[in-house]
Symmetry: C2
Subunit: 206 residues, 2 copies
DNA sequence: TATATTAGACAGTACGGGTATCCAGTTGCC
DNA sequence: GGCAACTGGATACCCGTACTGTCTAATATA
């Protein structure tokens, strides 16, 4: 398959495919001559995955590359792949040393839940930041407010991991881990919003 | 309070405050002369909210303005405010007419849950898109796969709405609705990721 | 009156995510 | 073998977003 066919079958403009090749998101095709390369079904699949990560989820090109290379380097060790995927931040902001006032709250939350979570998990930052923001806005949120949410998150994670059990193929499993952890996120938020609308309607009549 | 004090107390650069004023995110101060305006605590509070929406959550300036004006126009009717807030999309893409194959799936899901959700809720699109993406990638996801997630989303929404009950002040309530629906989202995803890491560690040893 | 601020307008910047153009090399087909 | 059509790769360019810097006339402050 040449680039034009890849473009036609994926719906992605040729120029954009070249851009992804340049950026290292898509591995180069097998070169058959100086101006000719052969692309496979793997490329097509990868291309669709890239589009989903960038388009459906809002990952940046950099974040997408990091996730993809991490997954393909460690395919086989599901736990490790998950760890790498979980490290990906949707909106990359500069890495500050951390040490804010909210991080001890996160520790309390993690401890209360009995969770085993690495100390440098970006998710810790996110929660600390959110708590700090909420408080700077006057809301008296603490880690205790998040506890029931954490319990629901735990149940969600059980659902997630269940779906990874019934696959043996390591490549398949790695990709599925990606889909579950990263691609499902907008859908889960959307579910919550619909549930909120419904709950609000139920409580305040219509 | 003049702009420099507003800048100092909020930590936001003066030039950026002027930008928000220009963009209509921040209402203009009370003009005392041609080159003098007076800002209040309300401005400070609003400014912090803007920063949280743009910085912590990844809202665009446009989305932020829409949400803020919607909230301040309808403060008082919590259900309506919620509806307006829920309409805000994190990553604004152009509104296509919709009608994809996934939307009937969303209908099935909503019906099965017994939810009352408006037909034009953006969340429907998000779920339909996600389902279509997942399937184009070969995963055999259907609305049934999402059912248990929907149930957890319902429980989350109950938590959310509970927290809005114990406030009478309508302005306070509107702002709290904003915080809960919009600002809490990254934290909820972060909780899920930590729970996934923990669950993965528990299942596959360490 | 001298100095510092200020509001507001406008131009410029940095970055992300692509597009468009060009060109030499290659292929298919008569 | 000749020629149009296509290809891969490099470079330049474009557009939107979120600011940031500079300027100016008016005002405040000492």
């Amino acid at each position: 398959m040449r680039i034009s066919e890849l473009s036609r079958r994926s719906g992605v403009p040729g120029a954009t495919i070249k851009f992804y090749l340049r950026e290292g998101l898509l591995p180069p095709g097998r070169a058959t001559a100086a101006t000719q390369a052969e692309y496979s079904e793997v490329h097509l699949r990868r291309l669709r995955l890239i589009r989903a990560l960038i388009g459906v989820r809002g990952l940046t090109v950099n974040a997408t590359r990091e996730v993809l290379t991490a997954v393909s380097e460690h395919e086989g060790d599901l736990h490790q792949v998950l760890g790498l995927v979980l490290g990906a931040r949707p909106v990359n902001r500069e890495e500050e040393p951390q040490g804010g006032l909210g991080s001890s709250e996160v520790n309390a939350l993690v401890e209360q839940m009995g969770w085993q979570v690495s100390a440098h998990a970006p998710a810790r930052r996110v929660i600390a930041e959110t708590l700090e923001s909420l408080r700077s806005l006057g809301a008296d949120y603490s880690w205790r407010t998040l506890l029931p949410y954490a319990e629901l998150a735990r149940q969600t994670a059980v659902l997630d991991l269940d779906q990874l059990e019934d696959t043996d193929d390591s490549v398949e499993q790695a990709e599925r881990a990606l889909l579950l952890t990263v691609l499902l996120e907008p859908a889960l938020l959307a579910l919550r919003r619909m549930a909120q609308e419904n709950e609000s309607a139920a409580r305040h009549g219509d």
